[in-house]
């Protein structure tokens, strides 16, 4: 039985692991991969300490930092189930493989809702991005398309009209975000909206070159010449495996307080899978550190 089990190997999970190792907790890290979302992030200018670094390069540094410590790892498979046992928690991987720990940190992140159109898989991280806050500034002076009609799409479009040469906003529905955000966009003279349009394809060989859309009413198709596509149609927390065990909010995020405690004592959560707002590497890393330090205090206070 481990002291601590960390589920998830993105910035939050890896930071949690480094803090756990430095506290000499016996630790198991379980994750599909190491790196998570930053592995598909084009370039990062807002991780403090690096003026510019590619997502995968930064995650390699995180990984090396974890691997200098004796942290047990189980990489390549996700957790299918987590349950409470008398002395802590048990997780199940795949069929019959189980692991136990006195405390657990869930840091499984979110996944972007995909467009599921041709070209998307090939061009992820090559002009298609799922985080305008992260990647927006890299598209200065270009033509870009923002996909979506909710607040995150509107905020992305507001950002991009200031950064890009021209921005297309493409939404399946009328705009559903806050009126004040919609008002702001009205003032932009370098924005063109295509509402009730669907995306059919993202085009390009090695990098995004264009996007093909269709008017849902008239069925008219149109090609837009863009160098960047911002997909902002929502995020899905990877919290399915703890549903019923811990309190989730209406978005499916794990509810935590500022000390990363969930509704279950001994079970902590950190990073994008939680109710803490914003989706940023430095925020997730901070939350991971905080979660481990809280888990450590919890363990210290367990009677022996």
């Amino acid at each position: 039985m481990y002291d601590l089990m960390i589920i998830g190997g993105g910035p939050a999970g890896m930071t949690a692991a480094v803090y756990a190792a430095r506290k000499k907790l016996s630790t198991l890290l379980i994750s599909q991969d190491l790196g998570g979302q930053p592995n598909v992030t084009a370039g990062i200018e807002n991780y403090m300490g690096y003026q510019f670094i590619e997502g995968p390069e930064l995650m390699e540094k995180f990984e090396k930092q974890v691997k200098q410590f004796p942290v047990d790892m189980k990489i390549g498979q996700g957790v299918s189930n987590l349950s409470q046992i008398s002395q802590g928690f048990e997780v199940r991987i795949g069929g019959d493989e189980t692991y136990e720990a006195k405390t657990a940190i869930v840091a499984t992140g979110k996944r972007s809702r995909l467009l599921n159109v041709p070209g998307e898989e090939k061009l992820r991280g090559k002009g298609i991005t799922y985080c305008a806050v992260c990647d927006g500034p890299l598209f200065g002076g270009m033509k870009v398309a923002v996909i979506g009609g909710g607040n995150s799409a509107l905020e992305a479009a507001i950002d991009m009209v200031r950064i890009a040469d021209h921005t297309y906003l493409i939404s399946l529905t009328p705009l559903t975000g806050d009126p004040i955000l919609i008002d702001k966009l009205e003032k932009a003279n370098n924005l063109m909206k295509f509402l009730e349009h669907e995306v059919l394809e993202i085009e390009g060989e090695n990098f995004v070159e264009g996007i093909r859309i269709r008017d849902l009413k008239t069925r008219q198709e149109r090609e837009l010449d863009v160098g960047g596509v911002f997909v902002e149609i929502g995020l899905i927390p990877n919290s399915e495996f703890v549903k019923g065990v811990v309190t989730l909010n209406h978005l499916g995020e794990i509810e935590v307080n500022c000390a990363n405690e969930t509704s279950v004592p001994g079970l902590f959560a950190a990073g994008d899978v939680t109710s803490v707002p914003e989706k940023q590497i430095v925020i997730a890393a901070g939350e991971g550190a905080k979660a481990t330090l809280q888990a450590y205090s919890y363990l210290q206070r367990l009677s022996e």
Copy 2:
């Protein structure tokens, strides 16, 4: 009138500034110095992205990252007063100098309570540390002294008996921390306690070599041969200038929720000055990022 005023130039404040600049907010950063507490931290092994880096070196990187953006700075003087005005906030520096902004982030950190004994000033960062979580692992195999009798001193001592060769725990009073922490220390066979002892002097030329203490009852003095001194006699939040404006907790920390909102709309807080637990660079940086993104959303929603 600025969009955002950031008060404090440590990890939280500088990260807040980078995020503000990337959002193209007109921003003023006001601080005594750039770097804050990490400037007196010996070596850092738990800032993700760097396996080992000196505190001042990391803070230089943060500073360069801020300075690549057009952020106005006012360095060298602290804020003496912050008040609400009709459209936001006004701060006063020194006598008559005032600045205004629509939103503000307070990130002024904490300061360690000092021992105020001879040798302390000379040897800060040279064997004297005020953060056992940060610096403990650097003292492996050495003899060290932990000063204090509360939870943070006990937790430091629990860490150090596992890391150091021998640990002395020196407290002015009987131990006042949690009984379970005190119990844990009872089991250590490489710990010696000097309760109701005061520290008279920290000795050493270029690095800590020893500590001189005195029994409060018998007045007997004693020299202990140590290579490290962990001062854990408490931290003081630098929140005096917002007292009466914003809700503070019983420790004097600014109360924030997980979105870095204080009791005053438009006024945010981040890092060690807040009620968020733990005192770590990566946590403060994450909080600074979060605070700016929240301030940005707040500004977006302000009617124009």
